[in-house]
Symmetry: C2
Subunit: 316 residues, 2 copies
């Protein structure tokens, strides 16, 4: 195994991920936990980070680069928002050092759109964008980054010019767990497959309705009561309605260059969005979200001079 050059950390509201990377960016070890900002705010950020670093055998002087909610005002150390328009690579230069630590730790800033009528913020997605910079370095692009708070980002020649947020993932969570619909979805809602008929139908309905799914949500409950539809059917319908509505809505407010979207997403969610985007008439170029944030963090480390090639920089 080559020596580690840097630890890269994506520290979100409710999740923590750490990769130990060598000087070429190859992954030497990985850690995932649910010790997000909410947990770390109570227990302390440094002890959680050091415990994970110790678990992967990181040396005491290994530098760490962090993105996400650890840089929020209520996080570890505030990394103030960079205001749009912002060059994607310039964002990486704004890393804020965490004082009083034995090792060098830097937190990347988030982005703020300060338009009076469309204020918006992101923390973490800007680092994913840095990780897919080669895909958007020239020309106009629209990047869809689905999740708890889905971001749709407009770029021009590698500069972020605007973005908007949809609460899609959070709406699925609160509606499936806290609303009347929980009786229809049951305890353990499993994500549908992209070709699940109820997902396909609901997604098509939301697209046709221009994103207005107001009259469709309670129908999930009524379909259980009157038609005996299953919890899996209810979950697939809710997922299709919310994803279809996000895409219809985004296409209403954002002009797509050449009817093409760059999708940065992983796993089941990535497959559902890719299917829904294609159904809406978009060509889709997909990049993996986990790889994107890791690549962005590594790129930030490289700019800090933490990844100078050495004789060890060969994959074993």
């Amino acid at each position: 195994m080559t020596s580690p050059a840097v630890a890269a950390v994506d520290w979100g509201t409710s999740s923590f991920r750490l990769w130990l990377l060598d000087a070429a960016g190859a992954v030497l070890a990985e850690r995932r936990s649910s010790e997000g900002m909410l947990t770390a705010g109570a227990e302390g950020f440094a002890p959680i980070l050091e415990r994970h670093l110790a678990a992967v055998g990181a040396p005491p002087d290994l530098p760490v680069v962090v993105c996400g909610m650890a840089g929020a005002r209520q996080g570890w150390v505030e990394a103030p928002y960079v205001t749009l328009p912002a060059g994607i690579d310039g964002i990486l230069a704004g890393a804020v050092p965490v004082g009083g630590q034995a090792r060098d730790i830097r937190i990347l800033p988030g982005l703020a759109q300060r338009n009076a009528d469309a204020p918006d913020v992101m923390r973490g997605e800007e680092t994913q964008l840095a990780g897919v910079l080669p895909l958007v370095a020239s020309g106009r692009h629209v990047v869809c980054m689905p999740g708890t708070h889905s971001k749709w980002v407009e770029t021009a020649d590698g500069v972020i010019t605007g973005f908007r947020t949809w609460l899609t993932g959070e709406l699925f969570s609160v509606l499936s767990k806290q609303s009347i619909l929980r009786h229809s979805l049951g305890e353990d809602a499993v994500p549908p497959l992209p070709d699940t008929p109820a997902f396909v139908a609901a997604c098509g309905e939301a697209l046709a309705a221009g994103g207005d799914i107001g009259p469709s949500l309670f129908r999930i409950r009524a379909a259980t009561l009157l038609q005996g539809r299953s919890p899996a059917d209810a979950a697939a319908t809710l997922s299709g309605l919310l994803i279809g509505a996000e895409i219809a809505s985004a296409r209403r407010v954002i002009a797509l260059p050449a009817e093409r979207v760059t999708l940065v997403a992983s796993g089941a969610l990535g497959s559902l969005y890719a299917a829904a985007l294609k159904r809406s008439g978009c060509a889709v170029l997909q990049a993996d979200a986990d790889e994107a944030v890791r690549t962005g963090l590594f790129e930030a480390a490289r700019r800090l001079g933490w990844t100078r090639p050495t004789s060890e920089n060969t994959v074993p």
Copy 2:
């Protein structure tokens, strides 16, 4: 005081209301509590009802007519849904007796729309409709009944021909208490006034967007972070967005006769909907929701022969 002729009960998911009525329908006493179906399902419906009847001094043979979720499958005694189209006055004839009680207790049925593509159900609102029957007895009408689950009902010559449900009240509740927006709205969200600028602006925005408020919800959070907007401003914005979206959405899927809506609503919510409906270009004829359900329950009692006029039927 005249003698009571009947107790009228509106028993919802999370609320209980009882009126002691004389033979002319005048209110002799009223009780309100939060012992809705959820509480009563655990503690028992009969003890809760009898405690409230005793508190208002009801005689042991006083009959009781009930509407709402007490008639659901998971309620007290199931009063099966009446299927559309249904005459409003015919619904009142479907009251189901509660067996094994010392007094005569009847529960009114709910309504079901069994269209394959738009299944829907209501319990309680059909009794409110019966209470405003004179307003919709002839011609076509659209009735808006806002609440946790807002109902928009189409009637033709006193027959209910169709309805749709919007989750507006429940969306406000889960978004303001369970989502990221709770940090912006704070602990005790107070309803705005109809002329609160943030309500007016958000309502207009939702109407102009045809009910697609997807890109607007997270902006409430960003406006707190970037613009220092107050919790009251955030609550007024969320309220305006959701009410405006419901109205835009309903106007998309339901054709309004003569651009006129019959609004059955009480208090602050009624004022907000009246303002928003007028802003959308509708004429509004408003009836009080509490009075409507009480009148509907009394009308059901009258058909059961429980309100025969006697010499006592004079208001003191």
